[in-house]
């Protein structure tokens, strides 16, 4: 028995436990993110939002659970999604149509595996009673998958979700869905680059792929948000685009493409897309917190005894979990505020933002960082000061230079030569106004009375 279970170690048990806990927190959290989003949008828009769906389920003896600020809304939504008819439109590719939501949701639910939520726990030795299996103690990571490829795994896994979106859009046999899927693919390809390059900036500074090393580095030298602000902002923007959030939600732009890739989906299959979107939100926020906001460290430069990487007690682990979740929630809030504030970019503007803006900018930052790392950087507080100053100078220089580059008008109309509104040169214009008043271009002569 003990031989068969030889793979069981303290790290294995903790990883399984962490994965089970986090995936459930994430599933419930995705539901409550929708509640949070509704409430935030309601407060921004002078509305009330969900405020009367409790947990009473319509049963009289549960009457005391009525109301509760609408906290039962996600549950009610879930029940509704479950109970609705799982309708498949005719002429769709049934296999892919069914498979697509799963392909979307799985990467979103395994992406967070390498995030070290609680740092390192000094696990005591113990024996599992029934199996009579002795487990040796020692330091274990509070992460579902403490592998040494670390952040590479995250980048690899989180971009897989777009396969589901593309396949779902293609399988739906609907032009709007198809266009949404195509847009999602192109957008993912474009924004993977600035995301990866700004990640490279971090890796250059840290010199390791291990999430714990990134956090240790930020503990020693201040958060990378302070020392690499431009890379952090690029990463944040690319993250929004990867998660298909406003202003980059072209894949599901409801005013143009009805619902985009999920136009034809309903009931639980639609709910899976929804779930994946909000899980993706949490995962990318956790990724951002790991890379730029010091992971579970409470405040930069202040090594309080609970959230320092050196602290390995159970209390420290819980405190770190709390801090990490708090930061993730903060990032999710920021993303939601962005969503309810700005309009959507047009699709070609999304592309030109990536290829003409973010990618060159991130390359410049990467080169500058390489040079700085090559010549060596001081440690501690002066490290942050130096790099922040460097970023500022870079920003000002780029602002000056880019402002003087020849401007490109993204909104120019492509003249369709020879169309009914754009006649060929020398061609008779059928639509020329016969009214002489229309031909002359004189300013309005009537004097407008002034106040």
């Amino acid at each position: 028995m003990a031989d068969l279970l030889g793979f069981v170690s303290a790290q294995f048990l903790v990883s399984v436990l962490v994965y089970a806990v986090i995936v459930h927190v994430l599933l419930a959290g995705a539901g409550y993110f929708t509640y949070l989003e509704r409430k935030i949008s309601a407060y921004i828009q002078d509305r009330v939002g969900p405020n009367r769906t409790g947990f009473d389920l319509g049963l009289p003896f549960l009457g005391f659970l009525k109301g509760l600020w609408g906290l039962g809304q996600p549950l009610a939504d879930g029940i509704k999604f479950m109970l609705k008819e799982d309708y498949t439109p005719g002429k769709v590719d049934k296999v892919l149509f069914t498979l697509a939501p799963g392909i979307v949701v799985i990467p979103a639910l395994i992406g967070f595996a390498v995030i070290p939520w609680g740092g390192v726990w000094d696990c005591p030795s113990f024996t599992i009673p029934l199996l009579n299996l002795h487990v040796a103690g020692g330091p274990v990571q509070i992460a579902a998958l403490p592998v040494n490829v670390g952040v590479i795994y995250m980048v690899a896994v989180t971009s897989l979700g777009v396969y589901g979106i593309t396949l779902g859009g293609w399988a739906s046999n609907n032009k709007y869905s198809f266009l949404g899927g195509l847009r999602a693919t192109a957008q993912m390809l474009a924004y993977e680059l600035p995301l990866g390059i700004s990640l490279l900036v971090v890796l250059l500074m840290v010199g390791s792929l291990l999430p714990m090393d990134i956090i240790r580095y930020q503990e020693a030298n201040g958060w990378l948000l302070l020392s690499q602000p431009i890379a952090a902002i690029i990463f944040f923007i690319a993250m929004l685009a990867e998660a298909n959030r406003v202003p980059f939600d072209n894949a599901e732009a409801e005013s143009e493409l009805v619902g985009g890739y999920h136009t034809e989906y309903n009931s639980m299959r639609f709910a899976l897309f929804f779930l994946a979107e909000y899980s993706h939100l949490a995962v990318s926020s956790a990724f951002f917190v790991l890379l730029f906001m010091g992971g579970f460290q409470l405040l930069p430069f202040i090594n309080d005894p609970l959230t320092a990487t050196g602290a390995t007690g159970l209390l420290a682990v819980l405190a770190k979990l709390g801090v990490y979740f708090g930061k993730v929630l903060f990032m999710v809030l920021v993303i939601m505020l962005v969503r309810w504030t700005v309009p959507r970019l047009r699709y070609d503007q999304v592309m030109s933002t990536a290829w003409q803006g973010l990618i060159p900018l991130s390359l410049v930052v990467l080169i500058a960082t390489s040079v700085a790392v090559f010549f060596g950087l001081p440690q501690g507080f002066s490290h942050v000061l130096l790099l922040f100053g460097g970023n500022l100078v870079l920003f000002v220089v780029l602002w000056y230079v880019v402002g003087r580059l020849p401007a490109y008008n993204p909104n120019r109309k492509i003249p369709l030569l020879g169309s009914r509104f754009y006649p060929l040169p020398g061609e008779r214009v059928d639509h020329a106004p016969s009214d002489p008043m229309a031909r002359e271009d004189r300013p309005y002569e009537g004097a407008l009375p002034t106040a």
Partner: protein
């Protein structure tokens, strides 16, 4: 897709050629998209057949008629007072503007000069209707570009206008308040009305406008999405007979309130030398979606200015132009309480005996939120019009849709359509 708009023979919807489609080889990016009539962005039931080159619109063909309800024909079956219930269903974003315009046309036909009190009330309500329409349009301009918040900022104050209409007429959405020579009833309480209108203007409308301006006016994404999109030049606007904010945003300084003044926009409106209300007509030269947005916002502010000039000095006196009681329905108390009232009510409702319209034609038009709204009435002397023809601004403004969109991207269609502020009920009638 085996769908083509222009088969080689025998199909005359569009006889003009788009040689771009013929001269440029199809590299596999060409496709046809049926945009509407069931689509969230085609505010009601507009349908556009788009021939796209990738995401670029190579050809846009608007198909209308999905909301055709025979409104014009109904005008021949209803008398001059009853038809007001139909016209207010045309542009349902600002229903009372239709009512006022319809009775303006009828009074032009009858040669009736309405009382100063009626003029002031109609002017105030017409300006409220303009605000009502523009608030929705500028909100929808943000909504169509993905900023849902701006839409709700515009929608909240509209509720207050509905409250005012409810107070004045008893109906929230379709007031049907005007009657020939006056209105269906006087204000229930003038003080309350003044308080409501002033509260709306200064506590709801202007702050909401400020919020929307702060949210999107200088927003880089909003400007990138709207500037240079759907450009209409001044000459084109005149040639296509565009009116309203569309024309003014293209540099045509035409506003019927200035050019053919009526109600309180005309000098000496009360017969004792009162000056016309003072306001300015915003004109923009760019003619793009952004210019239309700005013009509409400025018009709201000017409307508030007009209301401010009138609301404190609503003249006393009769509301209805008819001094004898033959043309006006008696109050309900008289109908139920006296035989004279009952007879008079019966005559007006059942036999239209009071009506003696001239055998004539008349055209009355007003500047409504979307542009020049006019009614051409042909009367044969009977109690009902012989023919009523509407000049709907939506219908005429919608002609430029294809011109504005071709050459732009798919996503711009939504913005352009929103900026034209097409109301399908008015378009199809």
């Amino acid at each position: 897709m085996p769908y083509t708009l222009r088969p080689d023979q025998g199909y005359d919807i569009d006889v003009e050629s788009t040689r771009y489609l013929e001269s440029h080889p199809d590299t596999g990016d060409r496709w046809t998209l049926n945009f509407g009539p069931q689509h969230p962005a085609t505010h009601t039931t507009l349908r556009l057949v788009l021939e796209l080159d990738g995401e670029r619109v190579a050809r846009c063909t608007p198909h209308i008629g999905y909301l055709h309800s025979g409104f014009e024909k109904l005008g021949e079956a209803l008398d001059y007072n009853q038809y007001v219930t139909i016209v207010s269903r045309m542009n349902y974003l600002s229903p009372i503007a239709n009512d006022i315009c319809w009775h303006h046309a009828v009074e032009t036909l009858f040669g009736i000069e309405i009382t100063p009190r009626c003029k002031v009330l109609r002017t105030i309500l017409a300006e409220l209707a303009r605000i009502q329409d523009h608030l929705l349009c500028i909100g929808a301009a943000a909504l169509d570009l993905g900023a849902i918040t701006g839409f709700l900022y515009g929608f909240n104050p509209r509720e207050k206008i509905y409250d005012i209409m409810d107070f004045v007429s008893g109906q929230r959405y379709h007031p049907d308040w005007t009657r020939v020579g006056g209105a269906m009833q006087d204000l229930p309480d003038q003080g309350t009305f003044q308080r409501m209108v002033k509260a709306f203007c200064h506590e709801d409308c202007l702050p909401a406008i400020k919020d929307i301006e702060t949210l999107v006016n200088r927003n880089r994404i909003f400007m990138d999405r709207t500037r240079g999109i759907g450009v209409l030049t001044r000459q084109e606007a005149i040639a296509w007979s565009i009116s309203g904010p569309l024309a003014r945003s293209a540099g045509v300084a035409r506003d019927l309130r200035k050019d053919a003044p009526y109600l309180c926009y005309a000098d000496n409106w009360d017969g004792q030398g009162a000056p016309a209300v003072r306001f300015q007509v915003p004109v923009c030269q760019d003619g793009d979606v952004y210019a239309r947005f700005l013009v509409r916002i400025e018009e709201i502010k000017q409307s508030v200015r007009i209301i401010d000039q009138l609301i404190d000095t609503i003249p006393a006196g009769p509301l209805n132009a008819f001094t004898d009681s033959k043309m006006v329905k008696p109050p309900k108390g008289e109908v139920y309480g006296s035989i004279e009232g009952l007879i008079q009510h019966f005559e007006l409702i059942m036999s239209n005996r009071g009506w003696k319209p001239p055998v004539a034609e008349a055209y009355g038009c007003q500047e409504t939120a979307n542009g020049e709204l006019g009614y051409f009435i042909v009367s044969d002397g009977g109690p009902r019009p012989w023919r009523v023809r509407t000049r709907p601004p939506s219908f005429i403004n919608y002609q430029v849709m294809a011109k504005l969109t071709e050459g732009h991207m798919l996503a711009d269609i939504v913005g352009i359509l929103g900026s034209l502020n097409i109301v399908a009920a008015e378009l199809d009638r």
